[in-house]
Amino acid sequence: MTEQQLREFATRAEELVTVPDFGELDRRGRNLRRRRHAITAGVAACLLVLGAVITAQNVKPKTQEPVEPPELPAKVTPYPGNTMSTLDEGTYELMLGSSDSPVARVTVPRGWNAWEGPNHFDGHAPGRVNEDALGHATWYVGLLVLELELVARGECDAVLNTVGVSEKGTSAVVRAITNAPRLELKAPAERLTKFGHPAVHLRLEIVAKAGCDRDFLFYSARNGAIGYLEDGSDIEAWVVDVDGHTAVVWGTWTPNAPSKEVRDLRAMIDSIEFAFKE
């Protein structure tokens, strides 16, 4: 009887399963294969260069001709994390999750602060550290690049009420963000290619909600709990499928942030490249 019920369940369920587009899955697989080959080729190239250098060192040339060094990539600095110190202008590499996850490389202009992502605000004064300046700030812009695990949900009637989105794909993350309390879509979500990957573009605003004091918006194991900016703040976000990993690029600014700061933020976002560590 039990076995029969199991099989009847399976037979009926098979009839009802929705079949997705195979082409999309195949495309993702081909991209994954291309990336793996690129990494393998890169490693092979490094080994060839290393072999050539060792060979050159072991062979005494008849003439002392200079050896041209291999072209070095542009300098990329590991992002220091939440140090609340001023960053040098340059390109930084942010870790998103585990060693399997992609990293995000972003070019930061002069004067930005190192929080979980680069941010910028006023309130600075001689002798005042960045942490204190933030307490005196009248405007704020910030960038986060995250691999989310939890997103707030519900009507703010629980202290901790979240939806898990870890490894559930871009659609689940988009759904969770657009359903989070106090976030309002300003325009329809838009599917496009951004940073060289399929992405969903979201334009949101943080709105006041009576009876909702929620501070916690989302959580990632690498960055911890992330809260809301003030009411009326704008968010421009991209939920990106980076070869099967879901990354969230989250740009946010307060209502009175100067236009130049928002332009700098957008330029930083446009500079983002995703890569996988070897």
Binding site: T2, E3, V17, L25, L32, T162, G164, G224
Partner: protein
């Protein structure tokens, strides 16, 4: 060999046919694999994610996948390993306890939802064993090898799982009376 060759005409499709493509395997096996994983993990959305990710990896494997003897078994193993890896990561972060939202069950499955609800109440090991044995027609040795446990463990899980599932399903019948 081109990736997108069609099946040779005249012969029924089978995994032994030299020109079976991943697209063919997808058409033949996708639904069945989703239902099997649905029974294993208890969540339709997760089952769909796992099976789709398995097909992505099959596509990424290219020629290596085409040389596999049993493509459906390869895909099922990949999906189950993905599920186990996810849950291992979830157990590792304990700072915030997640409130997972279960995906809705298949619409139209109302007459059989008692089965999936009963399966969800079983310990994971029993649920896996029952789903693989009855829905994927896997034998004890195959299940043991897939899950990385002894054959005796699989037999024990099957026996206890059958008893527990039967008790849960008859409870449902009693509740309806």
């Amino acid at each position: 060999m081109a990736e997108r060759e069609t099946l040779s005409m005249g012969a029924p499709p089978s995994f032994d046919a030299p020109r079976i493509t991943l697209a063919n395997v997808f058409q033949l096996s996708y639904r069945r694999l989703v239902v099997q994983l649905y029974a294993v993990v208890g969540d339709l959305g997760e089952a769909e994610d796992l099976v789709q990710e398995a097909f992505v990896r099959a596509s990424a494997a290219g020629g290596r996948f085409r040389r596999v003897d049993n493509p459906e078994a390869w895909l099922r193993r990949t999906a189950i390993n993905l599920h186990r890896n996810r849950w291992r990561k979830m157990r590792n972060f304990n700072r915030v306890r997640p409130e997972l939202v279960r995906s809705p069950d298949l619409p139209g499955l109302e007459d059989h939802v008692v089965v999936i609800e009963a399966l969800r109440k079983l310990p994971e090991g029993q649920r896996e064993a029952l789903a693989l044995h009855y829905l994927a027609d896997q034998q004890v040795a195959q299940i043991a090898e897939l899950l990385g446990v002894a054959e005796g463990t699989v037999k024990s899980r099957l026996m206890r799982g059958r008893e527990a599932l039967a008790a849960l399903l008859s409870e449902e019948v009693d509740n309806d009376d």
